[in-house]
């Protein structure tokens, strides 16, 4: 049973910051097609703050998640505060604990519950929840099977990608995309895709 190290957590968060920057235009374009086109602006400012917070050298996975959470809670849009609260559950669940896959599964489960309580979106409403739910389920299932942290996170990433991809054929029921009706069909939800990129970022790059 390996636990998530501070270094791994830090590398994960750093990669998320850089992937978010790389994917910014792509995500904005999705929000433009089925929203109001400011997703990238919101995400960029959150990630910039995250980078600043992370520069303070967090000393535990808890502090890493907290740094990211606070960055999002300091930004706007719908995605900002929801992601902020989502990451906050990761910070809460990991506080003062060894961060096993079980702990991460618990964190992801609590986290999506908070997002759903606040945003009132169900799976199938074409939001970030469509990636968060399967990711949490995959994480918990992997943990129950005794997977290592990297393996469990890789399964979460796959599940999140499948969930994100599933939003393409949906009509939105929540968020601004719900105002554009049929126009949203054929467009992947940027929030869901961001969740998938987040779990991707947990993988150690093949060097």
């Amino acid at each position: 049973m390996t636990a998530l190290t501070t270094e791994h957590a830090r590398a994960w968060a750093d990669r998320f910051v850089s992937v978010g920057a790389e994917r910014n235009d792509e995500l904005t374009e999705l929000d433009r097609q089925a929203g109001d086109g400011d997703y990238g602006t919101n995400l960029r400012s959150a990630l910039r703050r995250a980078a600043v917070n992370l520069a303070d050298e967090p000393t535990s996975p808890h502090e890493v998640f907290l740094a990211v959470s606070e960055a999002f809670l300091n930004t706007g849009g719908t995605s900002g505060p929801l992601f902020g609260m989502w990451f906050r559950e990761f910070a809460k669940a990991t506080k003062g604990r060894e961060v096993t896959a079980v702990v991460l599964g618990e964190a992801a489960t609590n986290a999506v519950a908070v997002v759903q309580r606040l945003g009132k979106a169900e799976v199938g409403h074409k939001t970030m929840v469509d990636a968060m739910v399967p990711a949490a389920e995959a994480l918990s299932a992997a943990a129950a099977r005794g997977s290592t942290v990297p393996d469990a996170l890789a399964e979460a990433a796959s599940a999140a990608h499948v969930g994100a991809a599933s939003t393409e054929r949906l009509l939105a029921k929540r968020g601004r995309a719900s105002y554009v009706g049929e126009h949203a069909r054929g467009v992947v939800d940027p929030g869901a895709l961001t969740v998938a990129y987040f779990f991707d970022a947990a993988a150690t790059p093949q060097s």
């Binding site: 809670l73 300091n74 930004t75 706007g76 719908t78 505060p81 902020g84 609260m85």
Partner: protein
């Protein structure tokens, strides 16, 4: 025709305006910048009271920043133009406002505001600050029944909530009492608005939508979006009853009932016009036997420079009326 504003960098519009507000009213308000908050200048010896915090996107001034002061808000939390403040910003507002008796959040019903204020409330509760939220959703144009959608928007009734709860807070009401009171005001208020001309965002040259010369946009909100449809332009004596009738219906106001009326300019409506609108409203209500106990006529909840007005009616009783009449001293409302 151009649509330019007094502005420097549009990105700094709100923060520079806050500096200007502070400079204009140093005795009433204090502005903090990171995060942006407008705080009531404390007076020594004020007994601790429940604090009132409101806020939301900017561009609606004097709402909310102009309503900080005695008898209204303790803190206003301004976002960027038409954008919610962040959850952390609201939390900072709550913490700055709290004097140990709890904090009432007055929130206009928009997804972003609801989200950020709710989150801030949760975060503050974790720090042992008692918080209650009053959600203001008075805008009839967005009354879609119970379809699970975002619900009615919050517009000018928020002024009544802030005024009435503000007065009760000064008199020592508890947090629970204030939340109940605020909800009672909301339940008894409805608003309907129309635009004669759309608004123009800072730094832009064109209004957010066009209207032909013979039409007005009915059921607009306060963010420059289109309303529920166009109607023919006409004299005030026709437009005003068309606004007021649905409000009367929605509140099921009956002969001999009393109201507080808010005739609100949306930005570029002249004082003379608002007076004419109020005259027509008074005539209309008199015709159906409804009595205006008090009226507030002016531009209080604006949509940048939109031309148009909203009419809010609040069914009132002696308690609400007395609290409405209680003293208030803020940059934008004082009596």
């Amino acid at each position: 025709m151009s649509a330019r504003q007094f502005v420097n960098d549009p990105d700094e519009f709100v923060s520079q305006a806050l500096e200007g507000l502070q400079l204009a009213h140093p005795h009433l308000v204090q502005v903090s910048t990171d995060p942006a908050l407008v705080l009531r200048t404390p007076k020594d010896g004020d007994p601790p009271k429940v604090a009132l915090v409101s806020g939301g996107g900017s561009g609606h001034e004097p709402l909310h920043t102009g309503f900080v002061g005695l008898g209204m808000l303790d803190v206003a939390v301004p976002g960027a133009v038409f954008a919610s403040p962040t959850a952390y910003q609201v939390r900072a507002g709550i913490k700055a406002a709290d004097r140990g008796r709890g904090v009432l959040l007055i929130v206009k019903n928009y997804t972003g505001d609801v989200l950020n204020f709710s989150i801030a409330a949760e975060l503050a509760r974790e720090e042992n600050i008692e918080v209650e939220i009053v959600l203001v959703d008075d805008d009839l144009a967005t009354d879609g029944g119970d379809d699970g959608g975002p619900g009615r928007r919050g517009t000018a009734a928020v002024v009544a909530v802030e005024k009435i709860c503000g007065a009760a807070a000064e008199r020592g009401a508890s947090l629970t009492e204030l939340a109940d009171l605020g909800r009672r005001v909301v339940a008894n208020s409805r608003t309907m608005a129309l635009a004669l001309q759309a608004c123009t965002h800072p730094g832009q040259q064109r209004p957010s939508f066009d209207l032909s010369d013979d039409e007005v946009e009915f059921g607009v909100g306060i963010h420059g979006e289109r309303g529920v449809g166009q109607r023919s332009f006409g004299p005030a004596s026709e437009l005003v009853p068309a606004l007021a009738q649905p409000v009367v219906d929605a509140l099921r106001l009956r002969r001999d009932e009393s109201v507080i009326a808010i005739v609100n300019g949306l930005g570029s409506t002249h004082a003379l016009e608002l007076s004419v609108v109020h005259r027509e409203l008074a005539a209309f209500l008199e015709g159906i036997g409804i009595r205006i106990e008090r009226a507030l006529v002016g531009s209080y909840v604006t949509a940048l420079d939109m031309r148009g007005c909203s009419i809010t009616l609040l069914r009132c009783d002696s308690t609400l009326l007395e609290l409405w009449n209680a003293p208030v001293r803020t940059p934008a409302l004082a009596w």
